[in-house]
């Protein structure tokens, strides 16, 4: 077909739009990927180890072995995402060559560059990046991210950090909206300087009253109610990492989280989904963690 354009921003952010209202699950092999798809996941994140294991094992966490990613791509028809290290654009090139559908430039892996994130505009494949607040989210958009997720605290099984990050983004946007309504251009320009992003992006966000791309919750979601909490706080969907395959009954829990997100405003349905799921992952107090992954790549 002549005159077709690939890798444009509408195409990249468009895939994220199609994932809204869905659950994206971390999987480490084909069997888990099938469980995720059968449960109703809208995409899977192909990993070598789930964040809870990365946390427990220590050492440098890197991009997955391509064999693992291919195995997972073969196993499912839903989109397959994969993680690369922050700033490691060659890992990203490899993932694009493997034709993953989305790259997560993730703080869960050990950062490769302490100063720069990847220039994501150079890629055809879309990127999702983590953020703890509005400034981080907008910086990632300036670098070309097509989707944002909260960082939360991956592998902790504790929802408190994800909630903090969702609220921080929401509060940042409300503040901008107020300045916008008051036509306080000077203060908005100041925000752009503070956030180190173009004023146009600040104005666009203020005008929309939300991030200009899809925003998911991630990091610490362990139960159907956790997932619905994030949805009711206004995110567009959720990533579940260790929460499913570190629980005692992954099949049931995966399906329950999908059902709970699909009906996030219906407490009766969330109650039904939450029954008889076995033990959730154990989880940790944030203060007891040796490494705070969310502080990476800000």
């Amino acid at each position: 077909m002549p005159s077709m354009k690939k890798g444009t921003f509408p195409i990249k952010s468009g895939l994220a739009q199609m994932l809204k209202g869905g659950v994206i699950m971390d999987v480490v092999n084909a069997e888990q990927a099938k469980i995720a798809q059968d449960a109703g996941a809208v995409a899977v994140m192909a990993l070598e180890r789930v964040p809870a294991d990365i946390r427990a094992d220590g050492g440098v966490a890197r991009m997955s072995d391509p064999v693992k990613i291919k195995e997972i791509q073969e196993a499912v028809t839903i989109p397959v995402m994969a993680k690369c290290r922050i700033g490691h654009f060659v890992e990203a090139q490899v993932l694009e060559a493997l034709e993953v559908d989305f790259i997560d430039e993730s703080e869960v892996l050990t950062p490769a560059d302490e100063q720069y994130h990847i220039d994501k505009t150079k890629f055809t494949v879309p990127f999702v990046c983590g953020a703890r607040d509005l400034g981080e989210a907008l910086r990632r958009l300036t670098e070309g991210a097509a989707m944002i997720r909260t960082k939360g605290e991956a592998g902790s099984g504790n929802i408190v950090e994800a909630v903090r990050h969702i609220r921080a983004v929401n509060d940042g946007i409300s503040e901008m909206q107020i300045l916008f309504t008051k036509k306080n251009t000077k203060a908005l320009k100041q925000k752009a300087i503070e956030y180190r992003v173009p004023i146009d992006l600040v104005l666009q966000t203020a005008k929309l009253g939300r991030l200009p791309v899809v925003n998911f919750a991630a990091g610490g979601i362990a139960t159907p109610a956790d997932a619905a909490l994030c949805m009711q706080l206004g995110v567009d969907g959720v990533f579940v990492g260790s929460g499913i395959f570190k629980s005692t009954d992954p099949k049931r829990r995966a399906r329950a989280i999908v059902d709970s997100v699909a009906h996030f405003n219906d407490p009766k349905k969330i109650a039904t989904a939450s029954q008889n799921l076995g033990e959730a992952m154990k989880g940790q107090e944030i203060a007891s963690l040796e490494t705070k992954l969310a502080a990476r790549g800000i």
């Binding site: 077909m1 005159s3 077709m4 354009k5 690939k6 890798g7 444009t8 509408p10 195409i11 468009g14 895939l15 739009q17 199609m18 994932l19 809204k20 209202g21 869905g22 798809q37 109703g40 996941a41 809208v42 995409a43 028809t77 839903i78 989109p79 694009e96 034709e99 993953v100 559908d101 989305f102 055809t124 494949v125 879309p126 969907g237 999908v258 059902d259 699909a262 009906h263 219906d266």
Partner: protein
């Protein structure tokens, strides 16, 4: 009477469809109500339904868990885009083992036929409603069409948009995402609903069941 149009709201680009519908109604100067649909009960409130883009496996599973599939087969008019078109199709290639569809329109679709996300594209295309910018995201291909299916857009023998009315059930299927770039197809869908279901005298003159929406569920 204000007809209620539902958008299947579990997952996908629901908001984009709702915005396109509202704008289309404005352009046509008609008054409609737009509802989110998540249960069988919601389906009974509506005259027509839109199935958005998303993952067809996820959408189908959630509908099945709610026991909605049979009721959806009887909704008078459904417009499906991308995953929604897969849901409407009579047969699906490369489906997952337990994947079901509504079998409302006599077409065969091939899921993810263009390849993975890096093969997704946008392109200016001609349609019988005029030129539109079409966004194809991990799009399906329509590989066969039945003899009663009317084609509204195609490039190089490749059918992109088509429609069929079987008895009192109308379906409109698009492989791409008109909701992201145009309201033309939403306007067309609303006109079809008006033509087939609401322009009828008294709303119940032609075998359309009585009731505020002109539609009673079979279940």
């Amino acid at each position: 009477m204000k007809p209620s149009i539902g958008v299947l709201a579990f997952h996908g680009d629901v908001i984009e469809h709702k915005m396109a519908l509202i704008q289309a109604a404005k352009n046509l100067k008609i008054s409609i109500k737009v509802l989110d649909v998540r249960t069988r009960k919601d389906l009974k409130e509506i005259a027509a339904l839109i199935i958005p883009g998303g993952e067809s496996t996820t959408i189908q599973k959630l509908c099945e868990r709610e026991g909605m599939l049979n009721t959806m087969r009887a909704v008078p008019a459904i417009f499906g885009t991308c995953a929604g078109a897969i849901m409407l199709a009579k047969s699906i290639l490369h489906k997952t083992p337990d994947q079901k569809s509504l079998e409302r329109i006599d077409i065969e679709v091939d899921r993810n036929a263009y390849g993975r996300q890096t093969e997704s594209f946008e392109k200016r295309i001609q349609t019988s409603l005029g030129p539109v910018s079409a966004v194809f995201i991990r799009a399906p291909k329509i590989t066969k069409v039945g003899k009663n299916v009317k084609i509204l857009a195609q490039i190089d023998q490749q059918v992109l948009v088509c429609e069929e009315k079987v008895r009192n059930v109308y379906s409109l299927a698009a492989c791409f995402h008109p909701e992201l770039t145009t309201t033309l197809f939403h306007e067309y869908f609303l006109k079809k609903i008006a033509q087939y279901y609401f322009a009828l005298p008294g709303g119940n003159g032609n075998g359309v069941p009585d009731g505020s929406t002109g539609f009673n569920a079979r279940e």
